[in-house]
């Protein structure tokens, strides 16, 4: 069974969706498209009744929820937020029930948070969807070697927990070599861009080699 990304133009071109138990890199220049893919992926997860984990390093969980009422409705139910962002505000003041990680350089704490989220959501045979937004922040605060290992180990662990994971990364912000290495660590790549106001997508490793427009 394939797991729908939730973007019909993309799903239909890559054999119905992503493989369950896979790690996917979502790469694109700064802009709203990567987040749009992540939100569609979560919305599609709500429809499918999957468990979901959203790890955010560069926005507050509330900001993500604002993008989609459907996603917001699942928070603390089938969706667990891991918040690596609010640490900048010092102590978290709100009454949110997110898992809080003390910053993007505390990678082990992030691993602990992911394990907690998995345990919270774990049910046999249940599929999981995970978004890590984004590797770019982790690369800003950590040595690239450590981020490779994190991606590799976390990816393998999530796969063994029946999860499909989107790793978001900014294009043009990191060394070519860094991006190339991370591409090697994942199973598939979804590329996005904005061209003259059009939301374009392709997935070269999954059969969609030409850019295709996403109608929103």
């Amino acid at each position: 069974m394939m797991m729908k990304v939730g973007i019909p133009e993309l799903d239909s071109s890559i054999g119905g969706g992503l493989k369950e138990k896979s790690n996917i890199l979502v790469i694109g220049p700064p802009g709203a498209e990567k987040l749009a893919v992540a939100i569609k992926f979560m919305e599609s997860g709500v429809e499918a009744g999957d468990g979901m984990v959203y790890i955010t390093t560069d926005a507050a969980p509330a900001e993500i929820e604002e993008k989609s009422a459907k996603v917001k409705g699942q928070a603390n139910k089938e969706l667990v937020f891991i918040d690596c962002y609010s640490w900048t505000l010092g102590t978290q003041q709100s009454a949110r029930k997110d898992i809080v990680v003390p910053g993007p350089s505390a990678l082990n704490d992030l691993s602990i948070g992911i394990a907690q989220a998995m345990q919270k959501l774990f049910k046999p045979e249940k599929k999981l969807r995970v978004v890590i937004q984004s590797l770019s922040t982790l690369l800003l605060y950590n040595n690239p070697e450590v981020v490779y290992r994190f991606t590799q180990i976390t990816g393998a662990r999530l796969k063994s927990s029946n999860a499909a994971t989107l790793f978001l990364i900014e294009d043009g912000m990191h060394d070519e070599k860094v991006v190339a290495t991370i591409k090697h660590l994942v199973d598939a790549v979804i590329e996005v861009k904005n061209e003259d106001g059009k939301f374009m997508v392709r997935a070269p490793m999954s059969g969609l080699t030409q850019w295709k427009e996403v109608k929103q």
Binding site: W87, G90, T91, P102, G103, S105, A106, L107, N108, D109, S111, I112, I114, A115, M118, Q119, F122, P124, N142, N143, E145, V146, Y148, R149, F150, Q152, I153, T154, G155, A156, R157, K159, S160, S161, T181, H184, L185
Partner: protein, 417 residues
Amino acid sequence: MPYSSGIPKLDEHLSGGFSEGKSVLVLSTPGIDARAFAYQLVQANPKVQSAYFIENAFPDQVRKDIKRYIYPEAAFKKMVFVDAFSTALGLPSAEKYAAKDATKPKSILEAIDAVMKEKPGVLVFDSLSGMEAKYALAGGLYDKMEEIKKKGVMPLCLYTSWDEKESEKAAENFDYVIEVKSIEERMLSRSYFKVLKAPGKFVDTAVPFRISFDGIAVYIPKIIITGPFHAGKSTFIHKISTKAISVNRMGTTIALDHGYVEHSGFSVDLFGTPGQERFEFMLDILNKDAFGVVLVVDSTKPEAFERAKEMLAHVTRYSLPYIVAANKQDEPSALKPEKIKEMLGLDTDVVPTVATTGEGCLDALKILIDRIVEGGTVGKKDTETKTKKKNEDLPTQGKAAKGNGSNAKKGSTKKSK
């Protein structure tokens, strides 16, 4: 007087605790909260001045973290922080001891010197792996550690093992090395610690533990022996146990079997589950502390295999490692383990056994324990093939998985020839 680790079982394995002025490395799998080991030691030695060096979060995060536990507040009264985080972000530090510019290795070493004024007995480094990656001062840092050891300080370093080779290299610099691992990739809550290195006498038995509100608690792991009616579960347990009890009625176990065995560095409680439907509720109870499962099947009764699989599904829903014991191999009509493996369609080892004589039973347990222990190495299959296929220069973590595979093979084919 040695410092108590705060964990009686660990002290016992270390013949009393950590000697003063020696260095300690706590080497843990990513995702395990090894800070608890530092807290546990500090609270157990409240009279000892301690310092906590942190470079990957604000010291307040640690203060908050400690409050999650029910340690008496007085236990941490003497602890001071060395803040090497705030200034890296360009923020002022509220701590008495802080690196002037935490992006500079020199400033890090100066901050360590500064806190020596407090004459600490223990200096915790929250993340040595983080420091190695950040400051490229591995050499300088180990020199500094030797220097502070001479002043009677015990450096206690937490190290997240993102990379096996690098963590092995780091371990060479320490007097004590405590390994902390999870038994299975998904279930990080099932973890064990083990002394890998100590200057004096030590025991290298693995000790399962749980981190809860009162700190680190050790327990005896359970292995569940399950299987259909009359498959030979009770006999299996009785043959390998040093002690065993079972409650029988007309030759069938009506409550449950219980045995105890020491093997491969583990002390294990064996729990047999009854084969009848009405006892299924017990499986859920047993599952909580379970480390692994042996599924015993009667090799002469393929008609019961479906039931066996159902029982297995029941106990492995928490993703426990398991193996199959193909029992009654001495019967002429017994199916070969290979055939049983095929019929069950399970991706695990099928070990031939004769529970009445005990043949193969210990092998089965040993293979399972190997699987449990080696299973803690994360990313084994994926990283291994990936690394080979695509990325030659990333070090692989496949070593343990390979060892595991060959072990398992040896065990399962040995007697089936």
